[in-house]
Symmetry: C2
Subunit: 208 residues, 2 copies
DNA sequence: ATATAATCCAAGTAATTACTCGGAAAACTC
DNA sequence: GAGTTTTCCGAGTAATTACTTGGATTATAT
């Protein structure tokens, strides 16, 4: 639908700093005050640039949020792809699942206050290309896990089940990452999530 | 935090009609245009009442949305409690799970356009008392399912796992209810969700 | 050094919005 | 039917907000 492309990409170091400052300020404001209180004037003020500067680089407010989402999600996706490559080399699917889940939660936790707002409260974020493709990738992934773990206890509707599993996993990842708890407790929940995911995908508990 | 209680409850039939018209209009507007475009003036116009009337019964905009959420969720909760009572009488936990999941999806589907906005885009809705207690009830419920299905293949952290399962189930219910698909396909997904839930809770597939 | 392009900026604007106010009409009480 | 309460209403207000504009300043190219 609407295009969220930046109006002009910054060309010089000076403007690149402004550009980044705007995105950083946006992240801070989202984390602290939520999406409802986010205004372009406040972003500019927080970023230490004039409001005109903001509109030199972004066509509108949504574009700023979309660009921020893209940047943050790119980091998560990168981590996940690497984790998937590592998991593929692991032979043991149970270890692979554990690793992927751990990395996913870890990638989100670092910026959990921002992600909580972006992924749960901004109306257009779920429809952003980066989000759509991320979720599709997750569904494809949970297919492969199931296959890798052996097809003995197979599910009747492989694609639908893979989609369901990935949706459930995705949401649980967010919930765990968003909780305001200590690292030990988060690690425990992460491990239990891995176990439940394995149960869903394979139909039994992993061997010890 | 903020109180969302109605300023004055309507006492006469005439005002009760206005009150209901306001809530109906709110639901329609949310379904059609989302939370961002929801304005009190538009609600009053849609409802066919003056803006002053709206503020006779509600202290502010959030209170209207909170009241609507309460009403809609009360319906869902009622259905779920009844379904739980029925499921308890069923002996077979697998049939019980299937029944609960089916009823849950069914309760949401009827008003899925409104629920999609309320439950996924309105910042304060998840913190509403009705939502908090609903989710707690779901967690307690998935505990009981696990116990009812026999503790042979037990999970190491019962409470944490019950919480995780209920969160995943809750989110999957929403996803399935929100999809724009036909009833056959929705029924199929619902059934598969029941199976995956059973797998998570019990650790194996239901017999036959 | 000059021309051109990039960057910065903030006062101003037009539109929107939540909510108030004060009084009129209708319903209930006795 | 007088008095009281409930209900209705919409013009008006004060605040907010996304975005424009046009000119000043700085960097780059030649």
């Amino acid at each position: 639908m609407t295009e969220y492309k930046a109006k002009k990409r910054p060309k010089q170091a000076r403007s690149r700093a402004s550009f980044d400052a705007i995105l950083d300020a946006t992240a801070r404001l989202l984390a602290r005050r939520g999406y409802e209180d986010l205004t372009t004037n406040r972003i500019a003020e927080q970023a230490g640039v004039g409001i005109g500067t903001l509109y030199d680089f972004f066509p509108n407010k949504e574009a700023v949020v979309a660009e921020l989402t893209g940047r943050l999600m790119a980091g998560v996706v990168e981590n996940m792809e690497q984790a998937f490559a590592e998991a593929s080399r692991m032979e043991d699917p149970w270890a692979g699942v554990r690793h992927m889940v751990t990395v996913a939660v870890g990638s989100l936790v670092e910026e959990r206050a921002v992600f909580r707002v972006l992924l749960r409260q901004v109306p257009f974020v779920p429809q952003l290309p980066v989000m759509v493709s991320s979720r599709e990738a997750m569904a494809a992934l949970s297919q492969r896990v199931r296959i890798a773990a052996g097809g003995a206890l197979d599910l009747p509707m492989p694609e639908e089940d893979a989609w369901l599993i990935s949706e459930m996993l995705y949401n649980a990842l967010l919930e765990i990452a968003f909780l305001d708890i200590g690292p030990e407790r988060r690690q425990m929940l992460t491990r239990e999530l891995a176990r439940l995911t394995y149960r869903m995908a394979v139909g039994r508990d992993p061997e010890a």
